[in-house]
Each structure stands twice: as structure tokens, then as C-alpha cells.
């Protein structure tokens, strides 16, 4: 649960249970929203596209990939739509030239960080990162690639982990902690050296806490986590379980 969620929940518990309805503008369109809804959620309800990567419906927000940044008229600061709530009367701009430019560059940075070789990736054609490049009109990367030397962990009998494709969105960490409750995943070190790990940075197959549920694989946006024995064409991520579990979390919230 994000701090923002917890805070608004606490507020609504202590204050009167009435949720205010706000009206504001997104890209010149009038929208109405509950005060506890994020700009991203409202935009999606109104079919306004805001790119995201670390966000996934049903998991807590991190506000970390920065692809969903939007402008609020009159403020020089850009805000991440996934964790920012609407306010009465504001004008949100989701697609200015400035934002499009920043998003493309952020995406380029992600591509330089690891060795994303789409052509030989198990998720080729089903990858959110690959699709983002198309959506954001990123035809090439003008920063130097970093070419880190990374390993593959194929020790698990059903799944494998390829750090070269990992974008550190930490969806795996969150789904494992928040939904499966195993907290097998976490991220070690920091900065550019950050890596997702299982247990005490040991081979996934030897993890004592992994339940083998595979949720991490299904939420992974790229080919970093994949199912073994599946061809590229078959490697479609199935997230049908998330809305259901999200509903349970909603019940929990009431």
C-alpha cells in the first residue's frame, strides 16, 4: 500500500465518510472524479492515454518509472499521474511536446540500462517495453548503451529470470509481497547496481519461500520473468487474476 493510499484511507476513517466529487480538466476535457482517485485512473476512465510501466492495476503504486508524468497548468513541476490525485479546477496536460520529449528520453535510458535484445527475447511481440517504444515514437536510443554483464537464473523448474530484460519496475516484488504474501522477491544493492533477488540472493530454484505460484511471471512487463518451455508466440502474460484480487483488496478497504 502506498503512503498516499494509506493516508487517504486513514483520513476517510477519521473524518466523515463522504467522498467529495471533483471536476477538473484533462487535456481540455472536463472530467469528474472522486477525490481519492489518481489522475491516471481518471484519465483511463476517460480513454486518455498516459504511458505507464511500473504501474499495474491491483498493485500498490511506486511512482518510480516516471513515464506517467503530466503537467498541471500553472505549475512548473511535473507530477507522476499514478500517485497524484486530482484537485478541483486544475488543468492537467498529458501530452505536451515537453512531456513527450521527457518520456522518450526516460524510455531511452531504460533501454540503455540493460541488454534488451528484442529480436531474441522470449517476450518479443508481447512486451510492454517494446510497445512503449512504438507508442512514444522512440525509433532509436541516442545515449550510449551501458552493456552490463548480467546472468540468467534458470534454476527454477518452471520459470526463469533474465536480468538483461529487467526494468526494475518491481511488480514481481509487489505482487509476491502484497498478493501472494510470500515476499520471496526483493531488490538488492542500489542505484545502477540494483538487482531483483529471491531470498538471500540465492538461485530461485532453491528458494525456501517461493510458492511457485508464478504471479511474478505474469505481472512482469518484459521478458525478464518467463515460463520455461513456452515459445515466443505463447509467452503472453495472463493477469486475469489481478482484478479479482484487487476486488478483495477493495473489500478489505471498506
Amino acid at each position: 500500500m502506498t503512503a498516499a493510499d494509506a493516508f487517504s484511507r486513514k483520513k476517510s476513517n477519521t473524518e466523515a465518510r463522504s467522498v467529495r466529487i471533483l471536476t477538473f480538466k484533462i487535456d481540455d476535457r472536463d472530467v469528474s472524479a472522486r477525490e481519492d482517485e489518481t489522475i491516471l485512473a481518471v484519465a483511463r476512465q476517460n480513454n486518455i492515454y498516459i504511458p505507464t510501466l511500473c504501474h499495474l492495476d491491483g498493485l500498490s503504486e511506486r511512482g518510480a518509472c516516471r513515464l506517467c508524468i503530466v503537467e498541471i497548468k500553472g505549475s512548473p513541476k511535473l507530477v507522476p499521474a499514478c500517485v497524484t490525485r486530482g484537485r478541483e479546477g486544475i488543468e492537467v496536460i498529458t501530452n505536451s511536446e515537453r512531456i513527450a520529449d521527457y518520456r522518450r528520453k526516460i524510455l531511452e535510458l531504460i533501454f540503455t540500462e540493460r541488454n534488451h535484445v528484442c529480436s531474441v527475447c522470449v517476450s518479443n511481440g508481447h512486451c510492454e517495453l517494446q510497445q512503449l517504444a512504438v507508442n512514444l515514437g522512440m525509433t532509436h536510443v541516442h545515449y550510449d548503451y551501458l552493456y552490463p554483464r548480467l546472468a540468467i537464473d534458470a534454476s527454477h523448474e518452471r520459470f526463469s529470470l533474465d536480468h538483461d530484460r529487467c526494468v526494475l519496475c518491481l511488480r514481481c516484488v509487489r505482487v509476491c509481497d502484497e498478493i501472494e504474501g510470500a515476499h520471496t522477491w526483493d531488490v538488492m544493492k542500489r542505484g545502477i547496481n540494483s538487482r531483483v533477488i529471491t531470498d538471500l540472493n540465492q538461485p530461485w530454484g532453491s528458494s525456501s519461500t517461493c510458492t511457485g505460484c508464478g504471479k511474478c511471471v505474469q505481472v512482469c512487463p518484459t521478458g525478464a520473468l518467463s515460463e520455461k518451455g513456452k515459445s515466443v508466440a505463447e509467452m503472453v502474460k495472463r493477469r486475469q487474476f489481478l482484478p479479482y484480487l484487487q476486488l478483495m483488496r477493495g473489500v478489505d478497504r471498506e
Partner: protein
């Protein structure tokens, strides 16, 4: 047990009488700077000399906190004669004792008329170098804990905040947020449990004022925290201090134990219903934990990674409770403001920046050490008067303020008053108060690279712009300093600076490009010299142009 005003005054009186009982008092600096020049051994030798002569009853030898002029350590101060000795060796202990009451030893004498001492105005450091940091009585004798008594017994929490607001105190940790406003927000938050946190995770390389205050006058910080806790309605405080400062940690723990024993911390302080406990939490070597939300995560035992704000800590902080976070120097200003009044404090400094500021002078300057000057003091005065100018006839080039979030200020700004606004205008920030002076031997690209390496390895790795952006910037700067860069790389640097500044998640990331941007702004020719002519004007970089394929 609770303490009454009479008892507090009595402790002060006894301590003062004890001091009066000595004809001579020898104060030896035992803060980290002088300790690394063997001042602990010196203190032992001095004590031995005194007892050998049987003078224990009229000569008092005590270890005190930082005397400021670290470059000349170990420092010894003799009272009541007011003589300061510098560079004192163990073998000097005897002669100094001999000279008591007679002529001072010329060879060791350090004039306190030097601008280094005369130009300072001490508020935060008023007790540093005067009291024994390990004796609470010494602090009380200097009026310690009287402000807490005042606040608890004669003021409402609201009045306390009003006084702070009237003083115009602004956060000394970097951004300069008005302290009164911060306190008001936390005070207004409705919650049974609230916390007060002292941010002592002084991570800026080149800043050591917080360490000095904690090592030299820890009770001042505790008192400030207790007053803050009373003002905002908190009962529990944490001091988050770097594990790299073992001496500060030790003295803080001692101070807390003494304060608890005396009853100025704990239950029913000064016979009121107010209670306040303080715990020390150790940092573990992560600069990003200076950021409020990361710091709280770290106190909770988790990874010190910032989270998006809002909600701000004042509403949703430690364990979800409203939390007040101020830095060491900010808390150190609280007791004097309560004691002397906000109007007194507001009388020091400039229109928008009130009070004094402690700076750590270091780098290519004659007098390195800790200084405290009124806000608005001219930069030139700090560097050339107090700092004594550039050693070996060198030429001033720039002063770096604000650490990895700050910038380099060139010569043309020397006549600028040092306050929050002027520094920001010059492309830097006040930061926590590190001032590194650089002369012609420093390469500005290399300095920018140094800070970028710092930001890169201190990046928590959560958001993409900071995690990858700082790495890319560092690589580009390496290319420049090794002579392998092309002109287009400079465009990439500027573009990345803009990107990271505007899209990173937390303050660390957003300010990481500052050292690059400011050096690029003022010293662009140095960058182009590296790129186009493949030379480092300061001769600091080892240029090895890449082998060209022809």
C-alpha cells in the same frame, strides 16, 4: 523523578562555583579533528602534569568540543587568561602548566584577535569549545535546559511556535523551509501519536557542522527537540545519526542517559504532564537517507528509498503518524530563540535569512575549520578574512557550496551576501553548510565528475531518471576528462541535466545535476578545452584521447 527550577538553578550554581574554585582552567579540544592529532593523549599528559605537581585543586583540565580552527589542532584554551594555543604537542604539556599565571608561550600562541575568531557570531556554537560535552552540569551552567523550562511552564505550545516563527528560523538542512510553518503543520495534524526526528545523517561530503555540534554540545540538540516535541504534541523523538560518527553517537547516548537521569527527558518533565523520550537510530551509509521519506523508511528498518510526496511527513510520517523532521543545526537554534526571544534572533542576519549559519570551511584555504557567521556575511569576507585566503599565493577560482546538490560559485560573486536567496540566484544552494574553496589547481569538470560519481553511487535506484540518468552523466563526464568526448556529448549532458532535474522522484535526483549545470554555466570554456583541444587547463585530468580509426 522531576526537576524543579530551583534544582536546575542549583546545579548551575554548584557547577559555576566549582569552576570558580579553579585558578586556571585548561580546555583541550577533543572533537574529531583534534582527536586525530592525538589530543586525547595530550589531555592525559596534561592531567598527569597537573597531578605530578599536586595542582589538582586549582587547575582544571577538561576535554571540550570543537574550538573551530581544525587546521591548527590540537587546540588548547586557557581560562581565565583567554590564551589559545595551537599545534600543541604532548611535550608541551609541562611548559604550559609552568607558564600558568605567567607569560604565555609565544611559540604556541594563537591570537584570538584573528578575523577567524573576531568575525564570528556564535549562537549554535556558543558552547562548543567551552563546555565538556559529557557533563550535563556544564551545559546547565551555561543556561542549558532553561529554555525548556520556560517553554513548558510559561508558554503554550502555540506561543512556542509563534516565537520560532517570529524569529524567522529556516531549516538548516538545505532547502530553508520556514521552521515555524513546519511546526504549525505538525501541531495542527490530528493524531494521538506524533514523532519528532532529528536528521543527523550529515552526508554532504565537506560538511561536518552537525557532527561538531553533536560532539561538542549534544544537550543543545536534545533541548531543541524537547521544545519542538512540546510545541507539536509529540512524546517520542528519534535522532537519526550516521554510524560513521561513532564519537557523536557515543556522546549523544551519554547525553540522553544523563538527561533522563536528571529528568529533563522522560516523564513529567519539570512537573508538567509533558513527557518526551529520545532514541538514537543509526544510519548505515546511505546519503539518500537525508531525504525525509527515505530517512523515515530507514528508521522503520526498511530500505532508505524516498517515496513520492504528498503526503508530507507532517501529515503522514513515521509509521503513518504526523512527524516533524528538522536537522541538527535547526534544533540547535531553538533553545537560544526561546531563551532570548524571536525578536532577538530576527535581529541577526538579513531580511529573509535570519540568524547565523555554521559553515565548514575546507579545501584550498588557509584556515580550515568550523565557523559561524550572521546570514548575509559577504562571501569574500568568509574566504579571505575569516578563511585567511588561499594558501601558497594561489588564486581563488570558485567556492562549492551545498555539496552534491549545490553548485560552484565563481570569483565574480565574491561580493555576494551569503543567504538562501543569493546562493540560489548564483546557481547554488545553502545546503547544510559545506564550503569547499578551490584554486587554479582544481579542474571544474573533474569536480563536477566527482559529485556526479557521488550522486550515481548514492542513488537509491528507485526512479529511472536518477538511476540511469546519473550513470549516463557520469560516463559522459568521464569521456570528457579522459579526452574521448565529442562536441555532441556536451549537448547530451545539458539535455540529461534538464531531464533528471525535472523528472526525478526526490530531491537527491532533482538536484544531482546542479554541480554540472553550475560549472557548465560559469566554466564552459574548461569543458570545451577538454573536448576540443583535449587539454585540461588545470592539469588535473589525465587526458588519453581514444585511438582514432583512420
Amino acid at each position: 523523578m522531576t526537576l524543579s527550577l530551583e534544582e536546575l538553578q542549583q546545579i548551575a550554581r554548584i557547577e559555576k562555583d566549582r569552576r570558580e574554585g579553579f585558578q586556571h582552567r585548561i580546555k583541550i579540544c577533543v572533537a574529531a579533528g583534534c582527536l586525530s592529532c592525538q589530543s586525547a593523549t595530550l589531555k592525559e599528559a596534561m592531567e598527569k602534569e597537573v597531578s605530578r605537581r599536586g595542582m589538582e585543586n586549582w587547575v582544571d583540565v577538561k576535554g571540550v568540543g570543537c574550538l573551530g580552527l581544525c587546521t591548527a589542532g590540537p587546540l588548547v584554551f586557557v581560562e581565565p587568561d583567554g590564551i589559545l594555543y595551537q599545534g600543541v604537542k604532548v611535550s608541551d604539556a609541562g611548559p604550559i602548566i609552568e607558564s600558568l599565571g605567567a607569560e604565555p608561550i609565544d611559540a604556541l600562541h594563537c591570537s584570538t584577535d584573528l578575523p577567524f575568531f573576531a568575525r564570528q557570531h556564535k549562537v549554535v556554537l556558543e558552547n562548543c569549545g567551552r563546555i565538556d560535552p559529557e557533563r550535563i552540569e556544564d551545559y546547565i551552567a551555561e543556561g542549558g535546559y532553561y529554555a525548556l523550562y520556560q517553554a513548558l511552564r510559561n508558554m503554550t505550545p502555540r506561543e512556542v511556535i509563534q516565537e520560532i516563527t517570529r524569529g524567522g528560523l529556516r531549516g538548516r538542512g538545505g532547502a530553508g523551509y520556514p521552521t515555524g510553518l513546519k511546526w504549525t503543520t505538525v501541531a495542527k495534524a490530528v493524531n494521538a501519536t506524533k514523532y519528532v526526528i532529528c536528521n543527523a545523517d550529515e552526508g554532504d561530503p565537506g560538511a561536518f557542522m552537525d557532527r561538531s555540534v553533536l560532539e561538542s554540545d549534544p544537550h543543545r540538540v536534545l533541548e531543541g527537540m524537547a521544545i519542538a516535541a512540546y510545541a507539536v504534541g509529540a512524546a517520542q523523538g528519534f535522532i537519526y545519526v550516521r554510524a560513521e560518527y561513532p564519537l557523536a553517537v557515543k556522546r549523544l547516548r551519554t547525553a540522553i542517559a544523563h538527561a533522563e537521569r536528571l529528568g529533563v527527558l522522560g516523564n513529567g518533565i519539570f512537573n508538567t504532564r509533558f513527557r518526551f523520550d529520545v532514541r538514537v537510530r543509526l544510519g548505515a551509509g546511505a546519503f539518500v537517507c537525508g531525504e525525509e521519506t527515505a530517512l523515515m523508511a530507514s528508521i522503520e528498518g526498511r530500505l532508505g528509498k524516498p517515496r513520492p510526496r504528498p503526503p508530507y511527513p507532517a501529515e503522514y510520517g513515521l509509521w503513518g503518524c504526523p512527524t516533524l523532521i528538522n536537522n541538527v543545526e535547526t534544533f540547535a537554534n531553538v533553545a537560544p530563540i526561546i531563551r532570548n526571544g524571536g525578536a532577538w534572533f530576527a535581529g541577526i542576519g538579513t531580511e529573509t535569512s535570519k540568524g547565523t549559519k555554521v559553515f565548514a570551511l575546507a579545501g584550498r584555504v588557509n584556515h580550515t575549520g568550523l565557523i559561524e557567521v550572521p546570514m548575509g556575511t559577504m562571501l569574500r569576507d568568509i574566504v579571505f578574512e575569516i578563511g585567511g585566503g588561499i594558501p601558497r599565493g594561489g588564486r581563488f577560482k570558485a567556492v562549492q557550496t551545498g555539496g552534491p546538490s549545490g553548485g560552484c560559485i565563481p570569483e565574480q560573486y565574491l561580493d555576494m551576501p551569503v543567504d538562501y536567496e543569493s546562493l540560489a540566484e548564483a546557481g547554488s544552494i545553502m545546503g547544510s553548510g559545506g564550503m569547499i574553496i578551490m584554486d587554479e589547481s582544481s579542474c571544474m569538470v573533474d569536480v563536477a565528475k566527482f559529485f556526479m560519481e557521488f550522486c550515481m553511487s548514492e542513488s537509491c535506484g528507485k526512479c529511472v531518471p536518477c538511476r540511469v540518468g546519473t550513470t549516463q552523466l557520469y560516463h559522459l563526464l568521464c569521456k570528457i576528462t579522459s579526452g574521448a568526448a565529442q562536441p555532441s556529448d556536451l549537448d547530451k549532458i545539458e539535455e540529461l541535466c534538464d531531464l533528471v532535474k525535472n523528472t526525478a522522484l526526490c530531491g537527491l535526483g532533482q538536484t544531482a545535476p546542479n554541480p554540472v549545470m553550475s560549472t557548465l554555466h560559469y566554466f564552459r570554456d574548461e569543458y570545451t578545452a577538454h573536448i576540443e583541444d583535449k587539454v585540461c587547463p588545470a592539469k588535473a585530468c589525465k587526458m588519453q584521447p581514444a585511438k582514432e580509426v583512420v
